[in-house]
Symmetry: D2
Subunit: 380 residues, 4 copies
């Protein structure tokens, strides 16, 4: 992989400075390359390539310089070229998309993205893990550690408790070191990604009343996945606005599990999601009581410090408020805060693109980490 | 029904003038009313009450002073109050919506709207007609006189040729006299309504080359009906724009049949529909060659004359262009024209609300005509 | 006005029952009518007829059986027929819209709607009040009783303290009796209408911690009025979602003033508005702590009781959640509640159409009350 | 620049094949690099950086490996960091955006994009040209060769006839060779780009009646640029559909000029644009008579042949229809055709992203060509 790092080096600003200083530069390079056939590019498979998330993963991987998409599949009536299903991929990828063929997938891939509904993942993942593949699962199957809770929220018993134990939650900003060594990565849900990142600095610092968290979440329509339901028909959504699953959404236990870890005590946040007439984007407005009077300035400093080294979390300056447009098609989570001093209330606004940091691009970020690539490769 | 006409009289401007002239008015009225029990309000049934069109018909009828909704049904898994299906009807109508019960429908209604898909209508309509009910069919089943053509475009043989013969095309501006005496009214399709009204004056006057008609039609999404299809999923439609069924749309033969009647010669218009990311509204831009050089002024005068007495067709002044907003939730067809003198080309722009003049309100207009009500009752 | 009540009587269901029982009915009526010339129809003026709210008021008044629109004006470059500005009014109203001519307005109207920006209202209203006209003001000028607060939030000193004292807040569900006798009605803001109606039963019953109210409000774009600003350009709003004026919105003091009255103690609610990519509709999700553990069933019963006789507030059954679609173009405020027992938290969701119950139709409701018309005339 | 070509070489598939064949590869490279300080990266300026087009150009250039954005400016009240104006650029570019400072621009740039309104361009361009800079102008100022026509359509006399003579029309698929040597490139308008590319094969082949061309164009809202006008207010556009400037749009003479060149005879096409409630995307449905009966298959073959070597024009297979989604945020022009044999009519559907192939990405494509970069650099 040296060649690529070489390239990346040359594209840095330092290089530009170098040539600014000298008129003539002579560079001598000798590359020695030891490789097994084809092994220099990572062979990646995408199971569930025709959903919104699968499509987006393909889109990102096609621009990724160290990855080759070597296998795709989906639940499909008839095998079809992926470039026929998504004409915008014409000329970029010409793999045929058929139903899952486990053997073929194992043979052709080093790493597998599972962009399938929950319940399906826990049936497929063990097979790939057994074959020594790295699995990045975008379903909910390996996120909840408590199988009772899984049963309550997803309506069926968990079938793969063994691998549940080794699954690492793929939120790089909090679990990067574990992700590096993971075999199975449970990619976070879209709502939880924004909620956990928004609350992590405050919970870690212990400055908030953990019993007072209210998350008012708003999401575009692709968050629900691509499935034929009258609920998501254009004219049901367009020019309409509604709350749904008030305090009953399946992402709640996931949010609470990780908030509890951060706070080292049991948290049950209130969570009310809303459906917004737009394709992509999540905005969460979070209300939480402060333990004691703290200035906005101090808390903002705390947040900036917490995410100082993170490329993909941007903490806004005082007075600025995130909007989904600013994170559209990007791997960012943008965070702004506001303090109501009289009420000792902290208001946090977080924005992500549900298909990106909330799903596909975060999955690729996890791949980069687990494979030792530069973390923002293909995500800039 | 005298009482109502009395009311309508009093709401006219003349009445206002009357009271402007005098300070004291004494009015003596004696109403003599002969009536069969309940017959003074028309009992109306709606088959297919849960589709977009059925819902809209209910909406209009609820404000109609001479009509009582006495029966509703739809293809439904479980009987349910219509006000639960559409909460906005709460407090206005509390009929239960169940699957079609023919006997009950016959017993409770004088007139039936069939807001069902084609193929279903021709199975139901004969039963109601036999029971001496007036039927207003919003499907395509009784629009095409040629059963061969029906088979070609709708993919199955016509099952009710007998009643096809007596069906009257429910475009009041052209067929009002026949509608008055009709037993079975074939309510026009949405695209045909705009196209035929837009071309009728020019074709009737014989000023255009009948071989040159091009109809570029754009429609909001409700035109396709309420059915679970990925094609009409919010995120497939939103921020997208496409042509579809180019010269292959099933409304073509309907358009051509009635344009041909108007022109007294066979017409095959070119017809290209487009899907627009909005709920409601159809705009058709129609291009047709003039037989000889004619001024915009003359043609505009011709159009204004043709629709002079029509309440629901508005011909715009020179320079004004229809837009769907102006006909939203109204029974209007707005028409604007523009002439390219050098090219001897007439450009006609027509706008309707596909759910209203393109379906539900036109059906009610037909009901008003066939029942002898004032034509705009409930439609103002 | 007896004639109208007569008509209304006949359109009730009882009438239908009457004719169901008997085959022949003879009715003898003698109307005696004393009237000043023209006084039988209320002459109404609309100042600011070209804004969203003004347009909507015209729309409603045109269907109102007891009202004649006798004067309209707006800040306008050149006098123009209102039916040219809004082509959908063609054939319904042909008044010319020019800049305000106070004398003409006074001569032609009994009641005036001021649909103008704040600051303008307090310059115009005194003139009309002096001329003995009833004024319904849709601006913010007469809502805040405290002129210091007015200065803080609207940036200028109040110019009409005299009439501020006699202004009645036009929220009929709470202040109906006062509205009946009002000369000057301060029509509520859109956000406050939903917030106050949503919280009134709980505050009146004293079951909530008044220090814990959080209002997360979401609004369509027409809430901001029709003004040329890049912020409301289509492509800035479409496919975007944002919070704005967090805890700094000018509707906050209005909300707090009336919540405080209801609770008989000073309330400072947290208020965060969001801008949603749709034309019309407000949804507010309100979070408030309960004083003691109360069941959802009990609180729901309390809400149903509170609004039992109100036609325009609909309290949803348990499990049902309001959505803006259900109140579109209607004068309803729909309310749903949910209780999180563990957290002793009450979640209230309220939906209105910002142009209707949030502005124009509520103004007409106020007009009906102050004029002694049936409260839902023109609003059904 | 060799280094970059080296990189590009290594990223080709051949390279992958190479490493697939051998286990060990030794590569010896000697770079000799002669350079003036900093000259290895092209220094580029963007005048008008805050408009939709300017913003998009920045967006593309930031990913372009051979370009450094060295100067930006815009008509602006107060100098501001571009990353504050567009928060999504945070961390990517931190230039300050101020009003145009000609000297600074000349000093810091080799090539200038003018993303300004017409009339401004012809005042600025001469200055940069005189200073020996390459200018890519996105306004209309250098597109029309006939200054009389310019005056007619843009309402003022042309001020830079001298440079008008040397300007090259920046439609690479037709004028690539001339672009290579250009000093001043007139980047095409959005409507013309789609229209000319859609008609070029048919006109060049001489198979159509040049007097019969009808272009029915539909555009998203960003096509109109970012300017505060009530016409483009969200609620004027949303849920509305309209035609505008029928046969009077300022892009008509541009379309006709280049169609005439292709056909070697004067063409006056009919052109009717429509405004669609979406942000981005143009779809044009073009109707043109064939000279003689030709099969769809033959014409499709002709189109495929014409664009065989073009990376950015995709001709669809029979039965497939372009939609704007497929070209979103990409430099493609997608073309589909359909033949009505009976009517000897060719229907062409073309889709582009108005901000990309219709403006910004086409401008970058032109930059790549004139600078000798690979044509798709930064545009893949």
């Amino acid at each position: 992989m040296k060649i690529w790092r070489f390239y990346l080096y040359f594209s840095t600003k330092n290089y530009v400075d170098l040539v600014r200083k000298y008129d003539i530069i002579i560079i001598l390079n000798i590359f020695f390359w030891s490789t097994k056939k084809g092994s220099n590019m990572l062979n990646v498979g995408v199971v569930g390539a025709t959903g919104y998330t699968g499509e987006k993963i393909l889109d990102i991987l096609l621009k990724h310089p160290q990855v080759r998409i070597s296998y795709i599949c989906a639940k499909i009536d008839k095998a079809q070229k992926i470039s026929e299903i998504f004409p915008r991929f014409a000329g970029k990828i010409d793999l045929v998309c058929d139903n899952l063929d486990v053997e073929k997938a194992i043979k052709s891939c080093d790493l597998i993205f599972l962009a399938v509904p929950h319940k399906i993942s826990m049936e497929i993942a063990p097979i790939f893990l057994k074959a020594n593949k790295v699995v990045i699962d975008l379903s909910a199957d390996y996120r909840l550690k408590n199988t009772e809770e899984y049963k309550t929220w997803y309506g069926l018993a968990h079938k793969d408790k063994k691998n549940l134990g080794i699954a690492v939650y793929g939120l790089p900003e909090l679990y990067r070191e574990r992700i590096k060594k993971a075999k199975l990565i449970a990619n976070p849900g879209c709502y939880p990604t924004a909620a956990i990142l928004a609350l992590a600095p405050a919970l870690t610092a212990g400055i908030v009343d953990t019993n007072s968290i209210i998350i008012d979440a708003k999401s575009g329509v692709t968050g629900a996945g691509r499935k034929a339901s009258l609920d998501f028909f254009f004219s049901e959504i367009n020019e309409n606005l509604k709350a749904y699953k008030i305090n009953e959404h399946q992402h709640m236990p996931e949010i609470n599990q990780f908030l509890s870890i951060l706070a080292s005590k049991k948290i049950n946040a209130v969570f009310v999601p809303h459906l917004i007439p737009m394709n992509r984007g999540i905005l969460e407005t979070i209300y939480v009581k402060l333990n004691k009077v703290k200035s906005e300035k101090d808390i903002l400093a705390l947040y900036k410090r917490f995410y100082k080294t993170e490329k993909f979390v941007r903490v806004y300056d005082a007075g600025q408020v995130p909007q989904t447009r600013n994170v559209f098609d990007a791997n960012y989570c943008d965070i702004g805060i506001k303090v109501d001093k009289n009420k000792k209330l902290l208001i946090i606004v977080a924005a992500i693109d549900n298909l990106m940091k909330g799903a596909a691009s975060q999955a690729v970020q996890n791949m980069n980490i687990v494979c030792g690539f530069k973390e923002d490769t293909g995500l800039k």
